[in-house]
């Protein structure tokens, strides 16, 4: 455990920027806090409950260019984007939910096939976590196995102290390399109990019990009841730090173009529509069921990860208040 003084944070930022890293951090703009690429430490908002979009775009951007292609008389050719040229990214100030979310995200992109775009971005990623000293009623991390002071996923974890300085925990070898490069910024930590510094989030249900229960609920009437007000948009999935569904698109002219992948959402009616016109998820309740079953039944079964870290973004941003923790609590009660 170390201490980093608030006046030394710009020094840490400066070192990482001078090392060629792009720094993806919470920025307050137009009345909302969102992860954005920054060019100066002063842009960063260190005091926030939750950002609008999660930090997942650092490894899974909303548009990932895959390759350029050309079609000519002589034949077709394609040129993949060179992942070796991807910049190193620092996710700065990610709360424990966001830092923890990279693990289940990684489980998808390395399941059977190692996606080279995603894995390269992950290799290049450094995460500076930020323990939570406040939360709101949409936060429910403790119900899904994450805690406001968790260090999982972070390379260096900062915990705010009342005076404005930060406790700094060096978690991984990537974190150690940074701390070793700028040793003057870190001093020995005073004897403090970290647990007393972080906020306390009420546990509403137990995720292991939820997993055991939801596995057998495929045909339960609760889905129809809960999904009635769902409008079938993709807001919950796009703000989610773990939702990883994507579409692949070719855009261009007759003689060539660009192939990219972009976020897609199981909330959309046409998400599973077949070429024949048949849609195995023909109504909104089957799509809502898929969203929850995927996170709490299929992902734990197949990849041994939960698809939710309790950040609450889906609930905060849903236009019709489809509050996930309220719904999961109800599922535990039926």
């Amino acid at each position: 455990m170390k201490l980093i003084k608030k006046e030394d944070l710009p020094g840490l930022y400066g070192y990482l920027a001078s090392a060629g890293k792009k720094i993806f951090a919470p920025v307050r703009k137009n009345g909302m806090v969102s992860f954005s690429f920054t060019s100066a430490f002063e842009e960063i908002e260190m005091s926030y409950i939750q950002t609008k979009l999660s930090a997942k775009a650092a490894a899974f951007p909303k548009i990932e260019k895959l390759m350029k292609y050309t079609i000519q008389k002589e034949g077709q050719s394609y040129e993949p984007y060179d992942v070796e040229k991807f910049p190193g990214i620092v996710v700065w100030g990610a709360h424990p939910c966001d830092a923890a979310a990279f693990h289940p995200l990684n489980a998808v992109f390395t399941w059977e096939t190692h996606d080279k775009y995603f894995t390269r971005r992950m290799e290049n990623l450094l995460i500076i976590g930020l323990s939570c000293t406040s939360h709101d009623e949409f936060c429910f991390c403790t119900s899904v196995g994450v805690h406001p002071g968790d260090t999982k996923g972070s390379d260096i974890q900062l915990t705010p102290l009342p005076g404005g300085d930060y406790l700094a925990e060096i978690i991984t070898t990537k974190g150690e390399a940074v701390a070793a490069a700028v040793p003057a910024l870190f001093s020995p930590a005073p004897g403090l109990n970290k647990e007393e510094l972080v906020t306390s989030v009420e546990k509403r249900f137990d995720h292991e019990a939820l997993h055991a229960k939801i596995n057998g609920m495929f045909d339960h009437p609760v889905w129809k009841e809960q999904a009635l007000r769902c409008i079938g948009c993709g807001a919950c999935t796009y703000v989610c730090p773990i939702c990883s569904c994507f579409d692949i698109q070719d855009e261009g002219g007759i003689f060539g173009g660009l192939r990219y992948r972009c976020w897609d959402s199981c909330g959309f009616g046409h998400f599973t529509i077949h070429t024949s016109g048949h849609n195995p998820r023909e109504s909104q309740d089957t799509r809502w069921r898929q969203r929850l079953m995927h996170k709490f039944s299929y992902q734990p079964q197949r990849q041994e990860v939960f698809g939710c870290v309790g950040c609450g973004r889906c609930s905060r941003n849903c236009p019709v208040d489809m509050n996930i923790s309220e719904h999961l609590t109800q599922i535990m009660a039926v």
């Binding site: 009623e137 009635l228 948009c233 993709g234 807001a235 698109q249 609930s315 905060r316 509050n323």
Partner: protein, 267 residues
């Protein structure tokens, strides 16, 4: 609002309807759409000025229609949406009980849609002051400034289609953006794709917008997307003298030709 609760209970107990679509208190101080099927649940229904969801959206969805006959709690913008949807053959009068609620939070019962038509014509609704100010600000800008404004706004778009999902007038079973042969609109949320989407949607709503502003309310990225439709609505009023949602006449403004239509846009 006791009258509303009483009426809902009465309709459900008598079996006149199987579900009442209304508003209830949600989480985090939010109001949300509610679906009440049992008389004893009617007490959770509420209505006040914060009820912004346009419930007309649910009246033609197969997920709600399969429950049975519906009653809907209808503030003025829902009443107008009901008229638009009726003229577009999306709603049938005998499939619906309309529980009108006035801005004064009083319940009005309508015997038929003709009475709704009369009522909405007697009670015009305007834009909110905040939206009027924004439109004035946008109109005072130069074309370049306006372009810059919308470029900045659309750069925030993530293409979650909450604006489409929440709009009763986006009633297409399959939206233009969902077609991929040919792919009319770029799928990705890049600059062109975002512009394609919002401009296409605005044009498809021309002459059909009930001015509820719900698309802007729904946007998680706080894009004032409703202003596009509001402005087109104003332009249409200037050009054709009519506003959507005030008539049961089955003639869509922009697909109906009249010999005295203004044609000064053809040059």
């Amino acid at each position: 609002m006791n009258k509303l609760k009483e009426k809902a209970k009465e309709l459900l107990s008598s079996g006149a309807v199987q579900v009442v679509v209304g508003y209830e208190e949600g989480t985090g101080g939010k109001i949300r759409p509610a679906f009440v099927s049992r008389p004893e649940d009617a007490d959770k229904l509420l209505y006040n000025a914060d009820c912004h969801h346009n419930l007309a959206l649910y009246l033609y969805k197969h997920e709600t229609k399969r429950i049975g006959k519906m009653a809907v709690v209808a503030p003025p913008f829902v009443l107008r949406s009901i008229l638009i949807l009726t003229t577009e053959f999306q709603l049938e009068e005998d499939s619906l009980v309309v529980l009108g609620v006035t801005p004064e939070e009083e319940l009005i019962e309508f015997a038929n849609f003709k009475e709704i038509e009369t009522w909405v014509n007697q009670h015009p609704i305007g834009m909110k002051e905040k939206d009027r100010e924004m439109l004035n600000r946008l109109n005072a800008m130069s074309r370049d400034e306006r372009w810059q404004f919308w470029q900045n706004e659309f750069s925030k778009c993530i293409k979650c289609f909450a604006c489409r999902g929440t709009c009763p007038m986006c009633s297409c079973f399959r939206c233009t953006v969902d077609y991929n042969a040919p792919q009319w609109i770029s799928v990705g949320s890049h600059q062109l794709g975002n512009f394609d989407w919002h401009l296409m949607r605005a044009m498809h709503l021309a002459g059909r917008c009930s001015v509820c502003g719900q698309c802007g309310e729904a946007c998680p990225m706080d894009i004032p997307v409703h202003l596009l439709s509001f402005q087109i609505n104003e332009d249409i009023f200037k050009m054709f003298g009519s506003r959507a949602g005030l008539t049961l006449k089955k003639e869509s403004l922009l697909s109906t030709w009249k010999s005295n239509d203004v044609e000064n846009f053809i040059r």
